[in-house]
């Protein structure tokens, strides 16, 4: 099962959501943000090396509370990437390690499109602010074109009650509210996913609900219809 966590806009919390959903799915979080990686890194080969044809995807898995495939931080590494290699790399990770959660970059260039094209399903992260919704809608269109079934959206960093129904209507998928919570914000840097660090929190419940919407089998998600 390959899940893309996308959102169009930067700074809405795609990485945090991807990391925490990967924790709940017991999967591997892949930092597919080739130009601005922010999942924890480590020594050894990373996704840049894989996409440059210089490393095996399996050897890039970095074990931790949540297993991560880190991404290089250099522009030269980003420039050397061949995006057409992503499909085989992610398929290898899926076969070896189970659910793969792709943390997608912002924008609608090929580096944002290819993860959606290789994914079986996608999860959209939106900010509760109105101006962010337009970006999410455009990313939703891109996902539809590239055949990544939308399983849900996370309205992230919520402080006041957001227009959840409007957002769900606009995006055509159930919306889950993830309240602003410092434990979520810290989870990636501290490598403490909220579902284990604060299992009783509202944020953890939201992450669990989102993870439950992710189908077990890839072929289900490839159906053209929305899941509700």
């Amino acid at each position: 099962m390959i899940l893309a966590v996308a959102g169009g806009k930067g700074g809405v919390g795609k990485t945090t959501l991807a990391y925490n959903v990967a924790a709940e799915l017991d999967g591997v979080a892949v930092d597919a943000d080739l130009g601005m990686a922010d999942l924890p890194t480590g020594r050894g080969p990373d996704l840049h090396d894989v996409l440059a044809g210089a490393a095996d995807p399996i050897e890039t898995i970095r074990a931790g509370p949540v297993d991560v495939v880190p991404c290089g931080r250099t522009l030269a590494g980003a420039r050397a990437c061949d995006l057409t290699r992503l499909k085989d790399a992610v398929a290898a990770l899926d076969g070896e390690r189970g659910p793969v959660v792709l943390d997608c970059p912002a924008g609608r260039r090929a580096d944002a499109g290819v993860p959606l094209a290789v994914a079986d399903a996608c999860l959209l992260v939106v900010s509760p602010r109105a101006f962010a919704l337009a970006d999410a809608v455009r990313t939703r269109e891109l996902a539809r074109e590239l055949d990544a079934g939308l399983v849900g959206c996370a309205v992230n960093k919520v402080t006041e009650t957001p227009p959840t129904e409007t957002i769900a209507d606009a995006l055509g998928a159930p919306a889950e509210v993830v309240p602003a919570d410092p434990r979520v914000e810290r989870s990636v840097a501290a490598e403490r996913p909220v579902v284990t660090a604060a299992p009783d929190s509202e944020a953890a419940a939201a992450v669990r609900t989102l993870a439950r919407r992710v189908p077990q089998r890839a072929d289900w998600a490839r159906e053209d219809t929305a899941p509700f």
Binding site: T74, A76, A110
Partner: protein, 251 residues
């Protein structure tokens, strides 16, 4: 099917262009194949061939009366005619999906790479960030040694703000170029009429002299920056002390 074509030799490549027109009354899928004795280099975007192209030619669906132009390159010698219509079959008007599959729309990854904007950081942003051998070794189709040479030549012509201090060879060349400019400027400083006339005509007139003056001023600025940086680096290099012996004991 109507087919007309042209073939030109440009450097080491044959450039083939052709136009195909469906003169039938029904949509037809036409297959145009190269007759050249070499691989077809199809048009590409983002490194991915345009829809319908493969190693031998192109396949496309043409509506009645529709005219379509194609072109490709090949390193093979030109032959005449360079292309031939290999097949032209009528297509059921309803079978759009089949038409799409023939155009190569079935691979979303290739579609995404081709149709969405390239995410690659520009070469200029990367230059100087890593040693050039790393770039060449990495899978960078543009980082061939030839291309690097071009870039260096460009740097010398324009003295771009990018750091030219890459390889020592480039550094030597740059110093030599600066020295030549400074020498020319020196000959103009307090020169007698005969020398000045010679130098001005060598520099390409008064405009050339003005440009030379600017260049030398910017050279001076860069040389000073280089001096400060080199001195700072030399100080730091002098203060380092890798404890080889201690590390050997530990290992």
């Amino acid at each position: 099917m109507e087919l007309d074509w042209s073939v030109d030799r440009e450097g080491d490549a044959s450039l083939v262009s052709c136009r195909v027109r469906n003169d039938g009354a029904v949509p037809r899928r036409v297959r145009v194949e190269s007759r050249l004795d070499g691989a077809v280099l199809p048009p590409r975007r983002g490194g991915v061939p345009e829809p319908g192209w493969d190693a031998a030619g192109v396949t496309a669906v043409l509506a009645p009366g529709e005219r379509r132009a194609f072109g490709f390159a090949s390193v093979a010698e030109p032959v005449e005619p360079p292309v031939a219509v290999a097949s032209a079959e009528p297509v059921e008007p309803g079978s759009e999906a089949e038409a799409g599959a023939a155009d190569g729309a079935g691979n979303p990854v290739r579609t995404a790479v081709r149709d969405l904007g390239s995410p690659r950081p520009p070469r200029r942003a990367v230059d100087g960030a890593v040693p050039s051998e790393t770039r060449t070794r990495a899978n960078d189709p543009e980082a061939t040694p030839e291309r690097n040479r071009e870039d260096n030549a460009d740097d010398e012509r324009t003295i771009s703000p990018a750091d030219p201090v890459g390889a020592p060879a480039g550094l030597d060349a740059w110093f030599a170029a600066v020295e030549a400019r400074v020498e020319r400027a020196e000959r103009l400083t307090d020169a007698d009429l005969a020398t000045a006339t010679a130098v001005v005509s060598a520099a390409g007139g008064l405009d050339g002299v003005a440009a030379l003056d600017e260049r030398v001023a910017s050279d001076a600025e860069r040389l000073r920056a280089l001096r400060d940086r080199a001195a700072a680096l030399a100080d730091r290099a002098g203060e380092t002390d890798a404890p080889t012996a201690a590390l050997e004991r530990l290992a």
